[in-house]
């Protein structure tokens, strides 16, 4: 288990957390500037905490009281950097072998392990290539290979999908899920994009302004957000589906799970896997099929109704099979007039233009511009 109970003063705020990461995948999500990267750098040993301790299993990595600081190289913690930090002057194989060489592992053994890892991540044919000639997705795999070949006791990933273009992200997200799920070591994945968190929904830590806003499963966060920010942050709808071929300047069809079809403006999009985001309050609910210009109308049942202060969150299951989850938010007035109840049949409608491709353009979330949501661009 990786345990961080430490604080670090940063330029604009202080990071102060007490987090324990078990041997599974935890996503740490938050807006830019929340301290996510610093958290990883503390765990990796690249920065020292101002106060507190960091432990991994039996070993103490940092203890400010007793002036203990284990250098990064000795921690057996691998960090996958945001832009992968592949060494440009070394080949893929040499990159992956780098940490093994640092441990003085002999050449034959090194080569064996490197080959095995490259095979496992399906990039064996790239062994002799230089990083500059690889695509984003390939580079990500090399970075993972380099990190995993050392059989680390913990794995840290800093915005692993941020450096990829929107459409690559979707396929890579799936691959990442596959690789990370069965690692059996504490794995911390940091992202500003809640869509990434949804991939590993068992444990999500929301970090805002250097403090943990909430820590729980996606279901917990969705059902019982502690703050408005958390509610906004987590309440976003995110779908992964397949975009049909289409004519430009027209709407394109996206096939979602549960036999649901929705339409999205096709401009600039390429057919294939696609991720789409939809804000809860962009959905209108009605008891009768709506007669509006909205191109997406889905029929479904209400699963839960959650009053959250000034608004009401309605969880629905929509589509022909009622299999796709949808979260909508309406005002208390609307709720009063609709009288939503569990089990009720409703129509959920939203415009094609309400969908955003690859949810976060601003780098934060689909959240409303709240005071708590900070603008993108500043590194933690």
């Amino acid at each position: 288990m990786l345990h961080l109970a430490a604080s670090k003063r940063l330029r604009e705020m202080t990071l102060a957390v007490d987090l324990a990461f078990a041997a599974s995948v935890t996503t740490v999500v938050g807006p830019s500037g929340a301290g996510k990267t610093t958290l990883l750098r503390l765990a990796a040993g690249l920065v020292r905490p101002d106060a507190g301790t960091i432990r991994l299993g039996e070993r103490t990595l940092d203890d400010t009281a007793r002036r203990v600081h284990m250098p990064p190289g000795e921690r057996n913690i691998s960090l996958v950097f945001q832009e992968y930090a592949l060494f440009p002057h070394l080949s893929v194989a040499q990159n992956v072998a780098y940490g093994l060489a640092a441990r003085h592992i002999r050449r034959a053994e090194r080569q064996r392990r490197v080959s095995a890892m490259l095979e496992r991540l399906d990039i064996a044919e790239l062994a002799m290539e230089r990083p500059a000639r690889l695509s984003g997705g390939q580079r990500q795999r090399v970075a993972l290979a380099r990190a995993l070949v050392l059989e680390p006791s913990a794995l840290l990933l800093d915005e692993p999908l941020a450096a990829l273009d929107v459409q690559t992200r979707t396929s890579v997200r799936a691959e990442l899920r596959e690789v990370l799920t069965n690692l059996a070591i504490p794995t911390v994945l940091v992202t500003h994009d809640y869509a990434d968190a949804l991939v590993f929904r068992e444990r999500i830590v929301i970090l805002v302004g250097g403090k943990v806003a909430q820590d729980g499963s996606h279901a917990d966060l969705l059902a019982h957000p502690h703050t408005r920010f958390v509610a906004d942050f987590t309440g976003v709808n995110f779908f992964e589906g397949l975009l049909d071929t289409h004519e430009p300047d027209r709407l394109a069809r996206v096939a979602l799970p549960g036999s649901v079809e929705i339409f999205v403006p096709a401009e600039g999009l390429v057919a294939g896997p696609i991720g789409l985001g939809l804000r809860p309050w962009d959905i209108t609910l009605s008891t009768m099929p709506p007669s509006s210009s909205a191109r997406n109308v889905l029929r479904g049942r209400v699963r839960e109704v959650l009053p959250l202060g000034g608004r009401v969150r309605v969880m629905l299951a929509v589509g022909p099979e009622c299999a796709l989850s949808l979260v909508a938010e309406i005002t208390p007035d609307a709720q009063a007039s609709l009288d939503c109840r569990e089990g009720q049949e409703l129509y959920a409608a939203f415009k094609a233009t309400a969908l955003s491709v690859g949810p976060t353009e601003r780098g934060d979330t689909l959240g409303r511009s709240d005071a708590e949501v900070e603008p993108a661009g500043s590194r933690d």
Binding site: G73, A85, F87, P88, H89, A102
Partner: protein, 269 residues
């Protein structure tokens, strides 16, 4: 018709513009190449070779090679950590230090010579101390190395610093997390990636040291075999009317500089 007129107008303008550019460039390049050609073509090859074998010439050549090599090695030894500190360090006054390092380039060599005298000369600030330690720099070969070092080390430091800055810190961090400490990362990541800048900086430093005159003659004096480097030998030969001797040494200097310059280009590519 109207359209046609407009097109020929603009292309004529473009043609005239191009001609002007080419002409100016040609004049500039000729201005550089012509005097050097005059130098190289002055003496027939055989006479040139003979002139290079005089005691003055051989002594100057040897001395220049020895002193500049030592100066270069010292520059690399001390300049590399300096450049790294300036590239990565975040301490107050770093920008000021950057400017200070640039000073020997801006300051006239004669001024550098006076400064060295006032610092290390007999009556300089460190004079008494050096004297007590039994170190006499006046008119010595080490003084030549010091003069060369002073005027030429900024080239290396500037280039190395730019090279180090260009190395992504994330790469150094990655190397650290993968198991290498400071020196290991420096050796395997920072230096290889900064190498083109380091080499071109070293080459420029060496070339500058080779051509150094003003500070040398002022701080170290001029004595064959001890302090008379090639540029000093050229100057004194010329002064005393030995044009051929001066030309021979000058040609060597020009050729060496040319080779050095080409090498820098090829490395950068």
């Amino acid at each position: 018709m109207h359209q046609l007129h407009r097109n020929t107008g603009s292309s004529l303008r473009a043609g005239a513009g191009r001609l002007l550019v080419v002409t100016l460039a040609a004049i500039q390049l000729l201005f550089i190449a012509f005097p050097l050609a005059a130098l190289v073509l002055h003496t027939p090859l055989g006479t040139l070779w003979t002139n290079l074998q005089t005691p003055t010439a051989t002594s100057a050549l040897t001395l220049s090679l020895e002193t500049t090599t030592v100066a270069l090695l010292l520059t690399i030894a001390f300049g590399t950590p300096t450049a790294y500190l300036l590239a990565r360090g975040t301490f107050p006054g770093r920008r000021l230090l950057d400017s200070v390092v640039d000073l020997p380039i801006v300051v006239p060599p004669a001024v550098a010579g006076v400064a060295l005298l006032l610092a290390f000369g007999r009556q300089g600030l460190l004079g008494p101390t050096l004297n007590n330690l039994g170190i006499h720099l006046a008119f010595s070969t080490p003084a030549v190395v010091m003069a060369q070092l002073f005027v030429s080390c900024p080239f290396y430091i500037r280039s190395a610093r730019a090279g180090f800055i260009a190395v992504d810190r994330a790469l150094e961090d990655a190397s650290a997390t993968l198991g290498y400490g400071g020196w290991g990362t420096f050796r395997r990541i920072t230096v290889p990636l900064a190498l083109p800048s380091l080499v071109s900086g070293a080459v420029l430093t060496w070339a500058r040291a080779l051509g150094e005159f003003g500070a040398t003659i002022m701080f170290a004096g001029n004595l064959m075999g001890v302090t008379q480097t090639m540029p000093l030998a050229v100057y004194l030969s010329l002064e005393s009317g030995d044009l051929d001797g001066a030309v021979a040494l000058s040609v060597v200097l020009v050729l060496v500089s040319l080779i050095v310059s080409l090498a820098v280009r090829l490395i950068d590519a």
